[in-house]
């Protein structure tokens, strides 16, 4: 018998990932026990099984799919509009000092007010329909994308441009062969932040003014005092947010592979 085996504890050790489940499991256990003995009224803390069945119900009657679909569509539309505008503005400010001088102060002032602050303003301006949601989400994505694109282009080492000059690149060639590819990693960081902000903005605007979507499920559950529905909606919001960020992370890694070579 070797020493390592002798020193091993007498109980089978948990696999490395196992410990991470201990705490949630313990919490879940405590939650179930509490629900079973009625330590807290179900209006305050419904049993975990009820949250599960509420989620199943929402899934089965199609409410979940339709609301999540609406939310996702809004985020995609708003993010596309906001990140595209942000990219263009960031590129303009990054390439031209003149553009930076003119735009940057106003942009900074605009970015200073949190997205949440713009919502009531936009509500008065465009009403509480679909344009409101798209505008709010677009604003949320726009700021980090513009900032990171700007900073990314400015951070391109001047040596790269000198190499381009040696090759007698035209301005356009310099831009799309040298500057933009070199700025891809920071731009992508901006896009990733932008998507996270867009998702948070979606939740905000759906909580404040919506009759459908995942945020509305929360409001609805709150009004009905259906905590199981609310908690289910929170779980879905978390999972979708996580999923969106993962997608961006995977794309980010793929785009950066050339750096290693």
């Amino acid at each position: 018998m070797d020493i390592a085996a002798a020193a091993a504890p007498p109980w089978p050790s948990l696999p490395r990932g196992g410990t991470s489940f201990l705490f949630p499991l313990a919490l879940l256990g405590l939650w179930s026990v509490s629900a079973h003995f009625g330590w807290l009224p179900p209006q305050i803390l419904p049993a975990p099984s009820e949250v599960g069945s509420a989620l199943l119900d929402l899934g089965r009657n199609g409410d979940l799919a339709s609301n999540a679909g609406i939310s996702l569509l809004r985020v995609v539309e708003g993010f596309a509009a906001g990140s595209l505008t942000g990219l263009l503005l960031g590129i303009a400010m990054g390439l031209s000092r003149t553009a930076e001088d003119y735009i940057k102060p106003l942009f900074t002032a605009f970015a200073q007010v949190p997205t949440l602050g713009w919502i009531p303003f936009l509500m008065l301006l465009v009403g509480i329909g679909e344009p409101l949601k798209i505008l709010v989400i677009a604003k949320a994505a726009f700021v980090p994308v513009a900032l990171n694109t700007f900073a990314g282009i400015r951070a391109v080492p001047p040596i790269y441009a000198e190499v381009g000059a040696v090759f007698r690149f035209s301005r356009w060639q310099l831009l799309h062969r040298v500057v933009l590819p070199a700025a891809v990693p920071p731009i992508f960081t901006g896009l990733r932040y932008g998507l996270t902000h867009a998702w948070n903005a979606l939740v905000a605007v759906e909580l404040l003014a919506s009759a459908e979507g995942l945020g509305y499920l929360l409001v609805w559950g709150r009004q009905m005092f259906w905590l199981d529905t609310m908690m289910g909606a929170m779980i879905v919001i978390g999972i979708v947010g996580f999923g969106l960020d993962r997608i961006m992370a995977v794309v980010e890694q793929r785009l950066q592979r050339w750096r290693l070579a």
Partner: protein
């Protein structure tokens, strides 16, 4: 000088267009009130409606929530960063929970803790806590192995290790987290006032402005939000720079 002129060109142009559009009555003044009306509302709010009282209420809430959240955040981040066991037990759960957009907690918090001051401060504290925990954790993790060896040679006690080695070396990262926490706390203060519309506050003022269709009030609120955000940012950067003075380079 040239840069300054260029910088103010767009904002001034925007204000001019605003003024012209209002003077020519091209838009409904309820949608876009004239500049002087916003100014009048500002004065009126300060003098008669207790704007400063609302602002103070928001700031107090912000500071209270931030202090609680960042304090607990540094403690949790230190524990998770220094103890392998705590890291493996709790970090995955923390990472899971923080995936839920912070505003999505508001309905639940309002059922659990009501819509009063306590609920708002709990929400603000939770918002400030997240970036502080993450950055403290990262900072603790990044302490240099060489310094750890030095500390071992000097036979540091556990307490000395934490106060002399880990905390100082994590300080830049903690400062980043606290800075983010300040920003998050301010946004969360506004959010809490939007959804728990009891009691004074700038967020409540903006929501009231929207409900009464008073665009001037909403615009005033936005201006205040931006100014306070700016002040918080500048203040945090200044403190950060001071704390980091000892760092070479």
């Amino acid at each position: 000088m040239k840069r300054l002129l260029r910088g103010v060109a767009l904002p001034i142009g925007l204000l001019a267009v605003w003024e012209i559009v209002c003077r020519a009555r091209l838009v409904d003044p309820r949608i876009l009130p004239p500049l002087e009306q916003v100014a009048r509302t500002a004065v009126d709010q300060v003098v008669h409606e207790g704007l400063l009282y609302h602002l103070a209420a928001s700031l107090m809430r912000d500071v209270a929530g931030f202090a609680i959240g960042s304090g607990i955040g540094i403690a949790i981040g230190t524990l998770l960063g220094l103890s392998r066991l705590a890291d493996r037990l709790f970090m995955p759960s923390f990472n899971g929970l923080r995936q839920i957009a912070i505003l999505a907690w508001i309905p639940l918090i309002s059922i659990w803790f009501g819509v009063g001051e306590a609920a708002k401060i709990i929400f603000i504290a939770a918002a400030a806590l997240i970036p502080v925990v993450l950055n403290t954790y990262e900072g603790m993790r990044a302490a240099s192995g060489q310094l750890e060896e030095v500390a071992r040679t000097l036979r540091f006690t556990r307490w000395q290790l934490v106060t002399r080695l880990y905390l100082p070396s994590a300080l830049p990262s903690i400062a980043t987290g606290v800075h983010l926490g300040l920003i998050y706390a301010w946004v969360a203060s506004i959010g809490s006032e939007y959804f728990m519309t009891v009691g004074p506050g700038i967020g409540g003022l903006i929501i009231a402005g929207r409900e009464r269709f008073q665009m001037d009030l909403v615009i005033l609120g936005i201006l205040i939000l931006g100014l306070v955000g700016l002040a918080i940012n500048l203040g945090a950067s200044a403190i950060e720079a001071r704390l980091m003075r000892w760092k070479p380079g």
